[in-house]
């Protein structure tokens, strides 16, 4: 269970985020949509304790995020390249993560096997630094890293961006499978309405930092969102 209460982020006068209350039950796939500047990434960053909230708090499974680091053990995230070690090769990077998470080599193999289809032989075993990968492959490395270590909660910012159509479909399958099999909670922000409505149980629409729609009815989602975005 993730709870956000009275969360506010203000830069001088400008309020960029103002979420009174938000609860995300365990195992839910939570989609976050909104136009540029709506506050999606800021919300994720505050939830991951990368940005200091002006007021309010976020707690993951009972741990308040800015009061300790316990929650980091069961949380995975990929928001942008700053979360990678881009001067390593993908293999070195996964190996480093394996040691950080204290996994065995077999664990890592099993984990990466799940991504074999998504990686499409373009990521592993290559003598190439992450920084030299294409944007799509960079994203795949980040997503695979976020899911490493059996996290209960996974944050993904624009996971479909820069992926080719086949990879987008493979990623959707992968997320659904992870969610169903391991009861992982997914928080996904995206501009791709088709994809989020397809995989998410619930979609929240942000506008200027405020939640203006909270949709859980699959049949309603697409219509409501289209109505909003077409304007």
């Amino acid at each position: 269970m993730i709870t956000v209460t009275n969360l506010k982020k203000q830069y001088k006068e400008a309020v960029v985020l103002d979420v009174e209350s938000l609860e995300i039950p365990k195992g839910e796939c939570f989609g976050l949509v909104g136009n540029n500047g709506a506050g999606k990434t800021t919300l994720f960053r505050i939830m991951l304790d990368l940005v200091r909230p002006t007021s309010g708090e976020v707690s993951l499974e009972g741990h308040v995020v800015n009061q300790g680091e316990e929650w980091k053990k069961f949380t995975g995230a990929y928001l942008d390249e700053h979360m990678l070690l881009s001067y390593l090769t993908p293999d070195e990077y996964f190996e480093t993560l394996r040691k950080i998470h204290g996994l065995s080599e077999a664990d890592l193999q099993v984990h990466l096997e799940k991504f074999a289809e998504l990686f499409n032989d373009e990521v592993r075993g290559k003598k190439k630094y992450i920084r030299d990968l294409s944007k799509g492959n960079l994203k795949k490395v980040g997503i695979a890293a976020a899911l490493l270590g059996n996290p209960e909660v996974v944050f993904l910012d624009e996971p479909f961006e820069n992926l080719d159509p086949s990879s987008q479909i493979r990623l959707k399958k992968l997320i659904s499978k992870e969610k169903d099999e391991f009861k992982r909670t997914f928080l996904i922000s995206s501009h791709d309405l088709n994809h989020v409505t397809e995989i998410c149980d619930r979609i929240v629409l942000l506008e200027k930092g405020k939640i203006i729609r909270d949709l859980s009815e699959k049949s309603e989602m697409m219509r409501e969102l289209e109505a909003y975005f077409v304007g």
Binding site: L50, V51, D80, H82, L85, S86, I100, Y129, D132
Partner: protein, 473 residues
Amino acid sequence: MTNIFLGFIILLLLSYLLLAGLFLGRIIENFAEGQDPIAFLNSFLIFYFLTEFLYRYFIQNLPVVDLESLLHLPVGKRKIMHLLLIRSFISPLNIIALLIFLPFSIQSIAPEFGSMGALGWIGSLVLTSWILHWFMLWFKQRFEDSTLGLIIVMAVLVLGGGSTYLGWYNLDELTQPIFDLAVNSILPLAVLSLVFVGSYWLCFRYHVDNAYLEDLSSDNDSQVRGQSIGFLSRFGLAGELANVEWKLIVRHKKSRTYLMLSAFFLLYGLIFYTNPAYASEDGGISFIFVFVGVFITGIFMIQYGQLFLSWNSGSFDFYLNRKDGVEQLVRGKYLLFISISVICFLASVPYVYFGWQILLVHIATFLFNIGVLIHVIIYLALWKPKPMDLNKGAMFNYEGVGAAQWLMVIPMMILPYVIYLPFALLINDFAGLAALAIFGLFGILFYKKLSALNIRRVYQNKYEISSSFRQEL
């Protein structure tokens, strides 16, 4: 702020050069009494140009870094290249020759050979300097960051310095006639003008022919370099992150240069320890040796440590997002700094050849460095760290350097003396060294507490650091 400071320094250096130029005639008279000053200077010019070759190699920037943003514009490639090359020409480096030699040509050559002679001479000199400019653009682009380029530069250094010293042959005899002729005849000026145009053309052709991004990219790392150091893995997660940091150092141009400089500074002692001005008969220690010792055994932590977190500006969120990630990152850096310090200390042991007291200096300063100075450097470096691009060269690249990095030099220089001098003056030099060593040992004893202070400092400022690294501020 840094830019203003840099501009000021450049102006200052240029004015020193002008001053040196104004007194060049008199300096030569002092050095070469009874010789013809013009002939003497002409025989010396080859060394001036060799030096120029070297500093141009290290300092001169390639104009093509902006190419990526221009190539797609509806402007011809040749036009863009002309523009970039001409822009590269407008640089303080290209007026150095003028500043140094113009006064001499007016003061000494004009009275003897007339204004045409003076013009021919200074013109030949300046043109030679400018030919070097175009040559260097081609040379650096051709051998960018490759070992071959460095070997050629070293060869030039050895040939230039060694030949005349060891008397293989006299380099000055090669070029002196050209400049001797230049005061009497317009011929050298004319020929050099042609060479100047030719060198520009060659440089231009090379750049146009290679004006594709993949040819001009500055760092084409086709193979992966830098492997893990097994020894570090013994230190758990911190050791693992020290290994990752080691890869960072080896795989980026800027940090590689810092590492090479550290190796270079090991030779620093040769300048001081061999200098009779610092030798003392009573077996004591010149007080400057403390400074030299701090430098030799701690150069890497002083240089690399200055930009402590900026090195990780591209992946700071990675560490923030792991449990104890930041703590392990800082501990990993400590581990790396101490390891390299140990290596520098061991490598500096042969200095004992210049006296056993130098070994004592190195032991004391080494202990002081890893016990005390390391914490001070890191503490100061955590003052508003700035992001930087690690793939740019290190020379005259002040990205990531803020006011703190300039100012922190002061406590780093003073602190060893604050401890050393009272004991050295009141008792004797060795008591001063002992004090340094004891402070260092205490620092090592309290390593956990002291490093925890710095780690806490990172945690306290993590939001500011993280958003500044994401360039949001």
